[in-house]
Symmetry: C2
Subunit: 98 residues, 2 copies
């Protein structure tokens, strides 16, 4: 029943880079949501920490997430974004229990 | 346009208490979703850390969240749950940007 793949992916922008990081993520939202198997792609900001950006992603299965991670638009965006981040980011694999 | 109140609320169960904590939270899900102004109340588990429970909540406005936090079912559940938690938990106020 609950075979989707859900991830909460968090990044912190380096000082002064939050706007750029948000723009980069926003630039791939439409293409990501159009990908096969993308059930949800929410982009959130932390109202108490401007540098903190949170994605809530849900994919039909691991294969569709893998295809997303290998997609041209994501890998290209990532190369630009990586130097603008502070630290490694954090991905939490979650499952709905209620 | 985006005047809802969104919270990501995270708790960690004390060792051996994760099942009890999840059951307690699950016991209020139905009543919470029936509350006026509750737009979303998702209960998630961290697949890599069994003690880690994550709620994604969205409320119509601060007043409806405040009413929820003061509700009998939540405050009663909280009193039972508090001793089963490790640490304080963490609430992140977020806003949708895309």
């Amino acid at each position: 029943m609950n075979d989707t793949v859900m991830i909460i992916a968090e990044s912190n922008a380096a000082p002064g880079k939050a706007d750029q990081v948000r723009s980069l993520i926003e630039s791939v939202v439409e293409r990501t949501r159009a990908e096969d198997g993308c059930l949800r792609y929410e982009v959130l900001r932390d109202l108490d920490d401007d540098s903190h950006i949170i994605l809530i992603e849900e994919w039909r299965d691991q294969a569709s997430l893998d295809a997303h991670l290998a997609s041209e638009h994501l890998t290209t965006m990532f190369q630009t974004m990586m130097p603008l981040l502070a630290g490694e980011g954090r991905g939490t694999r979650v499952a709905r229990i209620a």
